[in-house]
């Protein structure tokens, strides 16, 4: 087994808001190894983007603060780096792609200028070489007539093309790790398929690790080797993609998997639901955060915070009663 290139350990992040301090992440931990794709999945507000922003040191300032835990990249604690040192890592060794490509692109500069700027910032190359590199990467991400596109502005491109440009910018310096936060959520399925395929190809070419944030379990199943399931600022369960889909051991993971409509289910049959909704950061239940929606909760769940326990191998779950519920366990009910 290879060493992890990214280790997130017991991460705690808080925000100062008008109505006081809220804790958005509460002890989040997982790791990403070289060359693998780790999917981070969970519903809106569970802390996926805050996790990504913490790793990149892009939390909104001064409201967002890392108040505990560690983020190690190749063994080095990112939280202890100066902003200047972090800037050198960002873009060069960790690339990033967000849901809305326009936030990553400058509307008043040409695609070519933005790409070459990134290259010149991180690589000791001549302007000429940077231009060549830029055209080559645009070609690589599947943009037709890249030399013409170099002179165009972001608004002249379609949504799918813009996301390709953002991927090109994220990858032009051949980073070790790509953090992609919902990179295809705003795109149509046929374009999504193109982009996911592209990320996978580039990953194989470059041996890069990918942390893919999404709420789409289909995307996870198709692209990831390992999965982190988040709920309300904590990790509910993690493991290989087979652990999570074949032997989901957390009631939340089980509920998520049961509630998605699938192409092969009987039309209009009743879908399994998770009752209620994700609690806000200001009214989190004291024990297990899933307690108010969980079909298996009891008094213990209301007071005791579940800690991560090993199911088998890399598979861990944070639920007090997982043994009685897990399909991985003889006698498990689900």
């Amino acid at each position: 087994m290879q060493d992890a290139i990214l280790e997130v350990d017991d991460l705690v992040v808080e925000f100062d808001t008008d109505e006081g301090r809220v804790r958005a992440l509460d002890g989040v931990g997982f790791s990403v190894k070289a060359g693998e794709t780790v999917g981070v999945v969970g519903e809106s507000g569970c802390g996926k983007s805050v996790t990504a922003q913490s790793i990149m040191r892009l939390l909104p300032q001064p409201m967002g603060q890392i108040v505990g835990g560690a983020i190690r990249f190749h063994g080095q604690d990112l939280a202890s780096l100066s902003l200047e040192e972090m800037r050198r890592i960002r873009g060069a060794r960790i690339g990033m792609v967000f849901q809305e490509p326009m936030t990553a692109l400058n509307p008043v500069h040409t695609i070519g200028r933005q790409l070459t700027e990134v290259i010149l910032l991180h690589k000791k190359v001549s302007k000429q070489e940077a231009l060549q590199k830029a055209v080559a990467i645009l070609d690589r991400v599947g943009i037709p007539s890249p030399d013409i596109r170099m002179g165009e502005y972001p608004h002249q491109l379609s949504g799918g093309m813009r996301q390709r440009v953002v991927i090109a910018m994220a990858l032009v310096c051949e980073p070790d790790l790509l953090i992609a936060d919902e990179p295809t959520t705003a795109l149509d399925v046929t374009i999504q398929a193109q982009i996911l395929e592209l990320i996978q190809e580039l990953q194989q070419d470059m041996g890069m690790a990918v942390m893919l944030i999404t709420h789409d379990l289909g995307v996870i199943a198709e692209t990831c080797q390992n999965v982190v399931v988040m709920y309300a600022g904590r990790v509910a369960e993690r493991g290989t993609v087979y652990d999570i889909f074949d032997k989901p051991s957390h009631p939340y993971t089980q509920g998520l998997l049961a509630s998605i409509p699938r192409l092969d289910t009987t039309p209009k049959s009743r879908l399994t639901i998770i009752p209620g909704m994700v609690p806000g950061l200001r009214d989190l239940p004291p024990g297990c955060r899933f307690e108010n929606r969980c079909p298996f909760s009891d008094e213990a769940c209301c007071v005791q915070t579940p800690v991560e326990e090993a199911v088998s191998g890399q598979h861990t779950v944070a639920c007090l009663h997982w043994k009685a519920l897990s399909p991985a366990q003889p006698g498990g009910v689900i």
Binding site: E43, S44, P144, S158, G159, G160, M161, D188, V189, T190, I191, Q192, A193, Q194, L196, E197, H215, D216, L217, G218, V219, I220, A221, E222, T223, V241, Y242, F245, D246, G255, L256, L257, S259, I260, P261, R262, L263, T265, P267, K268, S269, R270, L271, T272, I273, I274, P275, M277, V278
Partner: protein
């Protein structure tokens, strides 16, 4: 069964204004010759990529738009050219639900006022009867009775969608155009709303035109499905047949592109080249020919028409080379 709704060769062309005098020299052919029908109590799912004209079609049918040409027959009456004043009884019978309920709900009105408004407009009952109806509606969509005094912004996305649904069923319509009603919701909330829509349909014998880009969602809720590409229906038929045995290359690639939530089943994606072309200047012949893996010369020259496909369980397909993938 005689259809509740029948749409024939419907077109909606938006003028594209440009130049000094803002003369419309070009048209955005958002809906460009659509045929479809919906039976009472039935769900027709409408799927297609962004910008293919789904919402525009829905807005023509609810007569939020006046279509450029074609026929919209509702209970055998062509409503496509009806004037506003004649549309009032129709507005009772055809309702719409939107993706973002907040946009369609008046933020300064309480939920009670929002739900009572259509009853007032259509002069239904006295104050007391209306309030009783509002309470009944809240109960039907699974919202607490105390919601009447609260404002839309105080609710979560899923609850707001419930308010939108309550308003849509307030006048006991027979058809609801649902424009991406669950697209913005989380999976666990999405399943709650889908269950509610199915329940209400059975209870009230509602017909739905259900617009979405998520084929798995559409497959779940629909009896029949129509696939739309650049302003036209390219294939339609019973959901099961369409999903198991699609004959149109676009439907095939669309289905293959859906990520399947099962790691054992790595789908064989049929990747399409390039982006959807602009509806302002759609490709000649078959509009899909610029991206179609099966395109030949005839596809560039002749527009294919919807043709029944034998032994497919009821599919109609517009393709010169229709057949299995």
């Amino acid at each position: 069964m005689t259809p509740l709704l029948e749409v024939n060769d419907l077109k909606m062309h938006f003028p594209v204004r440009e130049g000094l005098f803002l003369r419309a020299s070009k048209f955005n052919r958002a809906v460009d010759g659509v045929n479809l029908h919906v039976a009472p109590g039935e769900t027709l799912g409408l799927v297609g990529e962004s910008g293919c004209g789904k919402s525009t079609l829905g807005r023509c049918i609810t007569r939020l738009y006046q279509p450029t040409s074609g026929e919209i027959k509702f209970r055998d009456q062509d409503i496509s050219r009806m004037r506003n004043r004649d549309l009032l009884p129709l507005r009772r019978d055809i309702q719409m639900i939107f993706q973002d309920p907040l946009e369609s709900l008046n933020a300064r009105h309480t939920v009670g006022e929002i739900l009572e408004e259509p009853l007032i407009i259509h002069k239904m009952g006295n104050r007391q009867e209306r309030q009783k109806r509002v309470a009944e509606l809240l109960n039907q969509v699974g919202l607490p009775a105390r919601s009447v005094t609260r404002y839309p912004f105080e609710f979560s996305g899923g609850q707001r969608q419930r308010i939108g649904i309550a308003r849509a069923i307030a006048l006991k319509p027979s058809l609801i155009v649902c424009d991406e009603p669950v697209s913005a919701l989380d999976v666990s909330i999405q399943s709650q709303i889908l269950n509610l829509l199915v329940e209400l349909q059975q209870e009230l014998n509602l017909a739905y035109l259900f617009i979405a880009h998520d084929l798995a969602v559409v497959k779940h809720i629909s009896d029949r499905i129509a696939i739309m590409y650049l302003g036209r229906i390219v294939e339609s038929g019973p959901g099961e047949a369409l999903y198991r045995n699609p004959q149109h290359p676009y439907t095939q690639s669309l289905i293959s592109a859906i990520p399947v939530p099962d790691p054992h089943q790595k789908s064989q994606r049929i990747l399409l080249k390039g982006d959807v072309p602009s509806p302002i200047n759609p490709p000649s012949g078959c509009r899909f020919h610029t991206r179609c893996p099966r395109a030949t010369q005839i596809c560039k020259e002749q527009e294919p028409v919807l043709t029944a496909q034998p032994e497919t369980g009821g599919l109609v397909t517009a393709c010169h080379h229709a057949g299995p993938a």
